[in-house]
Amino acid sequence: MLRMNRILLYGVPAILTVLAFSLIGRGVLQAQEDETLALPKELSQREVTFHVLNRLAFGPQPGQVDEVLRKGWQLWIMEQLEPDQIDDGKLEAEIRKRFPSMRMSMGEVLQEYRPRYKNRPPSRQEQRLRNQMRGKVRNELRYAVLLRAVKSRRQFQEVMVEFWRNHFNVDQSKDQVSYLANHYEEHVLRKHVFGRFGDMLMASAKHPAMLIYLDNSLSQRPPTKQEQKAMDQAKKKGKSSPYLKKLSRQRGLNENYARELFELHTFGVAQENRSGGYTQKDIVELARALTGWTVTYGQNADYGFQFSKKVHDDRPKKIMGRRFSGRDGIREGEVLIQGLANHRNTALFISKKLCKYLVNDRPSEELVQNVAKVFLKSKGDLKKVYSAILFSPDFLKRENFRAKFKTPFEFAVSAMRATGADLVDPKDTDKMLGSMGQKIYQCDDPTGYYDVAEAWLDPGVLVHRWTFALTVAGGRARGVVMPRDYYLPILGLQPKAMKARLIDTILPGGVDLRTDRVLEQAIQVDAKNRRALASKILGMLLGSPTFQQQ
């Protein structure tokens, strides 16, 4: 009963919750009655637990399914929804020690990782040092992301941060973003992942990494008619003055961020015949409202967001039917962004994207509508929004079990977790993600990576996963260290039992029939050398179709 009450606290409609529980109860009974035909409509408790760990974590660690099964998966989810209550001190200490930039202010990162040039122009050596340090700060971020995904006990937090990382994509290879993305990860994404969507949106809008990545830091009001006239006359007469120089540097609007704010971060791409959409005019007007949202350039310790009144466009504006006087300065943009965050279109767009991420690539309209309702009612309280999905009947439907294809990132992380491997040095894994087309923090399209399976399923890409599976299982993956005694407990087993044990650890939900048959044959051929056989089975399991699913 305690559990039930806690669920209700999260604002999940009681009916849905009860429905979810009763479905599961029936699932267990049915599964016991009819095991061979394996057609139970509902998932068994073990399958549910595996499903939960596949979706709300980057896959189970050895033995974790049984552990969570004993505890009750509902309780596990409850715990995961309160990440601050889960002790992750050891990992965070490791991150602090190995990747100090993750804890620094942006000013500190710039001071530490961007050595000043003493010579003008800089010497070769100076340039090389600066490049090295830039590489270092970029690596620290990507490695921290990988390390946390593999090792954090706050798995659901990591899963959701990965979602928002892709949603509010910034590319660390663009200009200054190299030095700013680390702070962005901590103070925009991680800080608000269980908070309000509007707060995360606002934090991203004011973060130098986003302002630079989508060029808003450069966007300025165009010169007024008088200013333009003064410049034209000066040009004709060949005159110049500090005032005129300053004027000529002040150049005008950049609509990149305003467009993506609508299109990618809140409403989704405008579609004709949809009410409440936006037009090109709205984009330009929004861009005008956001002029002056920029950064304090330079290498000061207090490097950060700045609202520059001088380049802010203070003329009246009209955006989506609403009029603005233009005299409210930064408030104007803040009101607009808050308005976008709580808009119905945003609720629908974000809810659908979250359902795709957590349930399946084509979530039911009903589910999306329900989640959007919770989004609107709770003013974008993400904990409530996630709960609405997790405790919906859809989440545990048999047809959503293993219905998603893992992204390269999800695959690599889950393979390391499944084998209990320690990620000692993330370098090679990070590189492999690049060759699979999913570099961390280096997606140059503001859209982020594709969030549906078919984008990752092209012929050719599986070969990278197979190579990774083989090297991990063979203990040859650089930087990925399997527990030394991993194979020890199973070496004494007969091949059949060995196979069963490995399937049970790596894929507690079982494997598909054909994989099972092929493994059956493989153990007959290779039965002599037990160590080699164990590693072969493990490699095949990690590279099997089933392991690519979640």
């Binding site: 450069l218 990149n256 048999r398 087309g437 078919e454 399923l457 050719g460 890409v461 190579t467 029939l513």
Partner: protein
């Protein structure tokens, strides 16, 4: 999953072409029956997609339009070399080519390279991903189409005797134009994958003990479980991976060493590998390469700078490719395209914002050369699309249509190829006649 692999012809309201539509292009040699290619190699279409909305006005430059320099005071490219700046390379009529594109300019002079101006999609979107989707599906505004136009071509002309490698993308993920029912290989950037292929052969090919596998498959079908169905798709993709990659490994291991120097860039390497696959004579018909990063909202630069450097890389890579292939270029057509052009006026940050009409480039022996194709209507505000962007005077589908017709000899198959569109239906859809038949 099922829904995404939809049968294109069943699910779209395609327009049937009038009998006269094909007549717009005049006579051609027939390659419609690709059994003829068994002896000779089929022609190859290479699509280079410039992602991000590449700026047309700094690529194919209207140097003799006085408004150009006015509208682009900072990023404009001068007509001739000046003291500090390189000037445009003169093309036909009032145009010039970006000065960083000297290697392609050589092919322009040889009549093998032509630009097409004011080309693009009639759809109004200025969103990257909508515009790219619409173009790669060749179906602007039609969201029910989920198969790329190049994949549709492959499906339409499918034969039992097809080569394993009719189509490839030289990158880790397929572009949307190649995604669909027909299996296409995304070629890994580094090879040497043989060990992995051998290790997973049995698990994915399921060749051993056929009878047992067929029983398992039947049982799976009976159970109709989503998870096993998804596993089936993955297995299918794995089977294609094994078959196709084996072929690629085989070709590259016996490939001749080229003496042509490609640029040491990602694009240069991609074009070099592609030339190996083409000269490996394995029946490659379609290849695709993405070139990212054309969204120059800031610091786009003029004769020099970010965009010109990228154009220089594209140009050097394509120049080396054409040189490497030599006479084979008579049977190869390279098409460069981007989702849209950019604003005519430069923006506040020495860059340009999302626009409408863009450009295409064509390289190959089939090109009718020494011309700039497409209609030019000037830069006066009244002539611009919505007063700010270049207009679209050539619908990209008319270029695709002509390409499929001339390069691959499709005829009646083209009847339903483009949903809700037929050549010549409006002024923008009239084919340009920029290609000769092979």
């Amino acid at each position: 999953m099922k829904q995404t692999r939809r049968d294109f012809l069943k699910n779209t309201g395609s327009t049937v072409l009038g009998a006269g539509a094909l007549g717009l292009l005049g006579p051609q040699l027939s390659f419609g029956d690709n059994s003829k290619w068994k002896a000779a190699q089929p022609p190859t279409l290479v699509v280079v997609y410039l992602r991000g909305g590449a700026d047309s006005l700094n690529t194919v430059i209207p140097i003799r339009d006085p408004l150009y320099q006015q509208l682009r005071p900072t990023i404009g490219i001068p007509p001739k070399d000046t003291k500090d700046e390189k000037g445009a390379l003169p093309l036909a009529s009032l145009f010039g080519l970006n000065p960083s594109m000297a290697p392609l300019y050589e092919y322009y002079k040889k009549g093998m390279f032509v630009p097409i101006i004011n080309a693009g999609s009639p759809h109004q979107t200025r969103s990257h991903f909508d515009a790219q989707d619409f173009m790669e599906y060749a179906a602007p505004g039609v969201r029910s189409i989920t198969e790329g136009w190049l994949n549709r071509y492959l499906s339409l002309t499918k034969k039992d005797s097809d080569s394993e490698l009719r189509a490839v993308a030289m990158q880790p993920l397929l572009p949307r134009s190649l995604r669909g029912e027909y299996p296409v290989l995304a070629v890994p950037s580094s090879l040497g994958t043989g060990v992995a292929l051998d290790a997973f052969d049995s698990l994915y090919m399921c060749k051993e003990d056929r009878e047992m596998m067929m029983r398992a498959e039947r049982e799976e079908r009976k159970r109709a479980r989503t998870d096993e169905e998804v596993a089936g798709y993955i297995r299918q993709s794995g089977q294609n991976t094994i078959q196709m990659l084996r072929k690629v490994e085989e070709i590259t291991s016996r490939a001749r060493q080229s003496r042509v120097r490609y640029p040491e860039t990602r694009f240069g390497k991609q074009m070099k590998s592609l030339a190996q696959l083409i000269t490996g004579n394995v029946g490659l018909e379609v290849a695709s390469v993405d070139y990212r990063g054309w969204d120059h909202h800031a610091r786009q630069g003029g004769s020099e700078g970010k965009m010109s450097n990228m154009l220089g890389d594209v140009s050097a890579g394509l120049g080396a490719f054409a040189e490497d292939l030599g006479p084979r270029m008579n049977r190869v057509l390279v098409l460069c395209m981007s989702e849209f052009g950019r604003t005519v006026r430069e923006n506040g940050n020495n860059g340009s914002d999302h626009g409408h009409g863009g450009f295409m480039l064509a390289l190959g022996g089939m090109v009718k050369g020494k011309k700039v194709y497409g209609k030019w209507t000037g830069l006066e505000t009244a002539q611009l699309w919505r007063g700010r962007d270049m207009p679209v005077h050539t619908d990209f589908r008319s270029v695709f249509f002509e390409t499929l017709y001339r390069v691959f000899g499709l005829k009646k198959e083209l009847n339903q190829f483009f949903p809700d569109w037929r050549p010549g239906q409006d002024a923008e859809s009239k084919p340009l006649n920029f290609l000769n038949s092979i």
